[in-house]
Symmetry: C2
């Protein structure tokens, strides 16, 4: 350390020390304020979370009730219908009705799940936040108690520093004063010695004696001051050593407080906070994820039922439901007249040729009709396929509507635009109905043709059987003729 231009006065040093300590004190107070504020913010956040979940629980309960009412309204309606009882009895529902019931079931499921959600909010999540709030307050108090002790310790250390510094100042001042007194004594001695060396022509003996005793006195004083100085010097060194050691200890304590203890104090406030908050929020997440899983399961059941929307089996069920209407009637039997014992086509001589001609005409007419009708059938089937393609177009994906951009505002607008825009739908429907019109025209044409073919084919086949049975038929008709004819 180079020599300062001017020494700091004691008062200056004390003032500097005191301002430094005052600053630390202010910081300690400020730290407590910060921790208190943090705790207040936590308590406020936890209060907000409780309010939030209490209000959300209300919303979920209301939503649940509305869904339950909705399901109940339609359940009651379907329960009252005869069809429902019919269906329930059979446990064999038409596939669209099955979908409808599952849709109502899903709403009930959603209703139950949202009620459960509300229940978990109220009886679990909110309770947790309450407890975390209590805990935070308690932890802050504990932390405050510890902080109080730490601050006291720190102040003790600083006071000690003050004391040893003052002691050093005092002993050092005394040492300086002793040194200056010693130096003064040495100066006097030098002066005395100088005077004794002067030419002494006019000095009296008495005067000489007086001077010698004065020198002796000065020497004695010098020795005394030397001793005093040495003693003070040692005291001053010890005091400075103590000051230096205490200074080191103080700085170490202050450092320890700011670097380690403060962190420990904050940790005390934090004890369990993040972990408990984590568990509370995970309870919320668990509830939400489970609601989602349940919802998903329900939707999968509906999707499965939608996959099973099937006209073929429904047609079967429909016809089975009304057996009297759809059961084919008895065949029309041949009613023999007045004991006419012949009940088959006669192809004996007088009519054989005519039947054969008729058979051949039927055969050729049928060939033509079948070719014609096959054409109509192909057109009908192709048109039906076109309609099937139209009605099975996969136009039901609405995922675009649920895109969330970072700016949450841009969701709404896309919904109405992208799907089912009115003009395109109208055009599509007009096109579909036109195709339907054509299909039904062709279907009628085909049915007309096939009805005629059925009739002619039946006659043709009977004639073929009759004429083809050869001599057996010949024998039959001969035998019956023999019996009936008198000759």
């Amino acid at each position: 350390m180079s020599t300062p231009s001017r020494f700091k006065k004691d008062k200056e040093i004390i003032a500097e020390y005191e301002s430094q300590v005052k600053e630390i004190r202010a910081q300690l107070v400020e730290q407590q304020k910060c921790l208190e504020q943090q705790t207040e913010m936590r308590v406020q956040l936890l209060q907000d979370l409780q309010d939030f979940f209490r209000k959300k629980a209300e919303i979920e309960t209301e939503y649940s009730r509305n869904l339950e009412k909705l399901a109940e309204r339609f359940m009651a309606k379907t329960r009252s219908t005869k069809d429902h009882q019919q269906y329930k009895k059979d446990q064999n529902l038409l596939s669209p009705v099955n979908c409808w019931y599952l849709l109502l079931n899903q709403v009930r499921r959603e209703s139950k799940d949202h009620a459960t959600l509300s229940d978990i909010y109220l009886n679990n999540v909110i309770m947790r936040f309450m407890q975390i709030s209590e805990d935070s307050t308690r932890m802050f108090k504990k932390s405050k108690e510890i902080a109080f002790q730490l601050h006291e310790d720190l102040m003790k250390v600083l006071n000690e520093l003050y004391t040893v510094m003052k002691t050093y100042h005092m002993y050092h001042a005394e040492s300086i004063s002793a040194e200056s007194k010693l130096k003064e004594a040495e100066k006097q001695e030098e002066k005395q010695i100088g005077r004794s060396g002067d030419p002494v022509f006019h000095i009296r003996l008495e005067e000489r004696h007086q001077r010698r005793s004065s020198v002796k006195k000065i020497e004695k004083m010098k020795e005394k001051r030397q001793a005093k100085y040495s003693e003070n010097k040692l005291k001053s060194i010890k005091a400075r050593n103590e000051y230096l050691l205490t200074l080191e200890a103080t700085n170490a304590s202050v450092f320890k407080y700011y670097i380690h203890d403060l962190s420990d104090l904050i940790d005390c406030c934090d004890l369990g906070y993040h972990a408990s908050l984590n568990r509370a929020l995970r309870t919320y997440l668990s509830a939400e994820y489970n609601l989602e899983t349940s919802r998903h399961e329900g939707l999968d059941i509906i999707e499965n039922a939608v996959d099973n929307l099937e006209p073929r089996s429904d047609k079967q069920r429909f016809m089975e439901m009304y057996p009297a209407a759809f059961c084919p009637p008895m065949k029309f039997e041949f009613q023999s007249h007045m004991g006419d014992e012949v009940c088959q086509v006669s192809a004996q001589q007088p009519v054989q040729a005519e039947l054969m001609l008729r058979y051949q005409q039927l055969q050729s007419r049928l060939a033509t009709l079948k070719i014609e009708n096959e054409e109509v059938k192909k057109t009908t089937e192709a048109t039906l396929q076109t309609i099937q393609d139209m009605v099975t177009i996969e136009d039901y994906d609405v995922s675009e509507c649920f895109q969330h951009s970072r700016s949450t505002e841009s969701v709404k607008s896309t919904v109405s635009e992208t799907y089912l825009s009115k003009p395109s739908i109208a055009k599509r429907r007009a096109n579909q109905q036109e195709t339907e019109q054509f299909y039904f025209m062709k279907l009628r044409e085909y049915l007309e043709g096939s009805n005629l073919i059925t009739k002619l084919q039946a006659k043709h086949d009977l004639l073929q059987r009759t004429l083809g049975e050869g001599h057996k038929a010949e024998y039959m008709t001969t035998r019956t003729r023999d019996r009936l004819s008198p000759s």
Copy 2:
């Protein structure tokens, strides 16, 4: 066919035929009624679906609005706080505050998604059901037109059967009558021949002549009747053949109608119904699944934030937020007194032994203190670990509450029982607070000990440095003493 005990009379046959046709007519009417009823049920179902989704859209809208209000209420509250502005500016939120904001974001997201759901119900799903309803009605009409034609065709066939049957009856009756007339003539002829074969002793010539002309007359009549019979017999055979052919054609037509055409008629009614219903329900499913996906994404964001609930980084942020309070102060510097140029511990002869003794005492005291405090530290840390284990217990899984058994009634009861049952919670909390109490006691003990150690250690280290510096220190202290001391 064995000979019947008695022939059916014509009227009986006609009555039987008519009753059979009446039955078929009644079935045709019944079939139309069934199809009409089916269509009505479909229209009703589609109306129910529309009403259902309209009502559900209302519920979703209300739910969405409530969620939006909820989010807005807390958003507004946080926006107004100073802290919020502080945080927003920094974009460096404390982890619990981050969770809170994401929770509010999630509610807004849910609000938007449920609004979208409602929008899709109203502008897409319901529209589809309306169109399917229109289509069903139109298809039924088309099917009815075709049914009308098919029924007419069938009636034509049945009428034809009636006609040919009557014709057969007529010709067969005529044939029988001709046959009996022929037989009568044959009988007369036999009688005449028998009479001519009698002994003719008393027969006059005139009588003889008369008899011969009579035989001739009978023969002529017989021939005529034979011809008539043959003619009628042929007509009867032809009529019976026609009857049999028409019977075959009729049965084929009836069979075709019941087995094929009826199915086609039902298909006409069904045209597009299942496919369109499928698409409508898939639109609903797409909306629901997408809502779910969006919800899930939102929850994942929150879960990520919950994973990042971290005391360490929050402590860092907290201290950075208040630098004035937490910044370590300047070191206390050695303040030399009145130009005292020594600023280090002096270890020259008069104090050296004492310092050495002090150093050794410090050393041994520190060793003891450290051992003691290490024990306290271990206990403190173990207790802290116990608390950490308590506060990180994984007690947040609520999946049990969302189990749906087939009987939907059994869900509700489980909720309140399984989780957070009051006595167990109270016990757990009491236990936790007891552990906390012990922890803080030990922590204070540890801090007290470590503060003392810090102070002593600082002094010890300084002495060690001073004494250890050997002759350099010796030289330093000697030099300064030389300067200060006068001799």
